[in-house]
Amino acid sequence: MSLPKPAMRGLLAKRLRFHLPIAFGLSLIAAAAFKFGVTEPRKKAYADFYKHYDSMKEFSAMKEAGIFESVRPTGK
């Protein structure tokens, strides 16, 4: 019985043909993961923070906490 002749050429090219699409795919997945895991949530967090932000209410809370030097707490 005779064995089939093994592939003896183009072995590195075959390896590249297998791995390069995976490399590109993984890098696109990494970019998408960062975009939807970090970038978009951060944009949304800032938008949500300022959507209903009451600067005077926050200022009053900070003032009563005593963090400012230009304006002291009123003790209310």
Binding site: L12, A13, L16, H19, L26, S27, F34, T39, Y46
Partner: protein
């Protein structure tokens, strides 16, 4: 201010800093894309004994790895230039403050209406009150009205300094004999810290900047009080 184990930027307190944050996220996404690609290829190539010594050239791959980086660079450049021009817009400031760098403290001059000026020295560690931040607190803070465009004219009296407040997205070199202009809007009330950002001698690390953003009415009360005390 920064906190221990912090990796990213401080929370943005001005619209420009928010834009810078988002641009940094965009650029970092591209960095991860390229780094993942390169790392995978490196591992795939070092983990085999297969070689090919007979490829001399390939027009196709040369075109791909010229065009693709050019496209990526354009994708980085366009938002970058957008922010650059955004930062340079005429913004009609409500207030102009001069920040002068000295060895080793900052002085602030509010000369729009009256002549208000004061020095801002770091509070030494042994004089800190409980809850205050080491190497960041100053005896007099630069108070500004919140949600108002403020122009800062930065210069120095002796050597190079740099006026920087990371959460406001501001950094401007203080050069003796030169007036540099920058501007910001504090989006919310609060206290924002920065440090001198150009080596200026022995106490370069000990001349911090503290900006206090308060409503206009309180800013006016503060400036009247400061003028009375002067």
């Amino acid at each position: 201010m920064a906190h221990p184990t912090q990796l990213g930027f401080q929370d943005a307190a001005s619209p420009v800093m928010e834009e810078l944050l988002h641009f940094h996220d965009h650029a970092l996404m591209i960095v991860f894309l390229i780094s993942t690609l390169v790392l995978y290829i490196i591992i795939a190539m070092v983990s085999t004994k297969l070689t090919n010594k007979y490829i001399l050239d390939s027009q196709e791959i040369e075109i791909v790895w010229t065009i693709l980086p050019a496209v990526i660079l354009v994708l980085i450049a366009l938002p970058s230039l957008r922010i650059l021009y955004l930062m340079d817009e005429i913004n009609d400031p409500h207030l102009t403050i001069k920040a002068m760098g000295h060895q080793w403290y900052w002085s602030y001059e509010y000369t729009d209406y009256e002549n208000l000026g004061f020095d801002s020295y770091m509070v030494p560690t042994q004089d800190l009150a409980p809850g205050q931040f080491r190497l960041l607190e100053t005896d007099h803070r630069m108070v500004v009205p919140m949600e108002s465009p403020v122009r800062i004219l930065v210069s120095a009296e002796d050597v190079l300094h740099s006026w920087a407040v990371p959460s406001l997205g501001v950094k401007m070199d203080a050069v003796p004999g030169r007036l540099n202009q920058t501007a910001f809007i504090a989006s919310r009330p609060g206290v924002f810290y920065g440090q001198c950002s150009e080596i200026c001698g022995a106490n370069h690390s000990f001349m911090p900047i503290v900006v206090e953003a308060v409503p206009l009415e309180h800013f006016e009360n503060w400036s009247s009080l400061m003028l009375e005390d002067a």
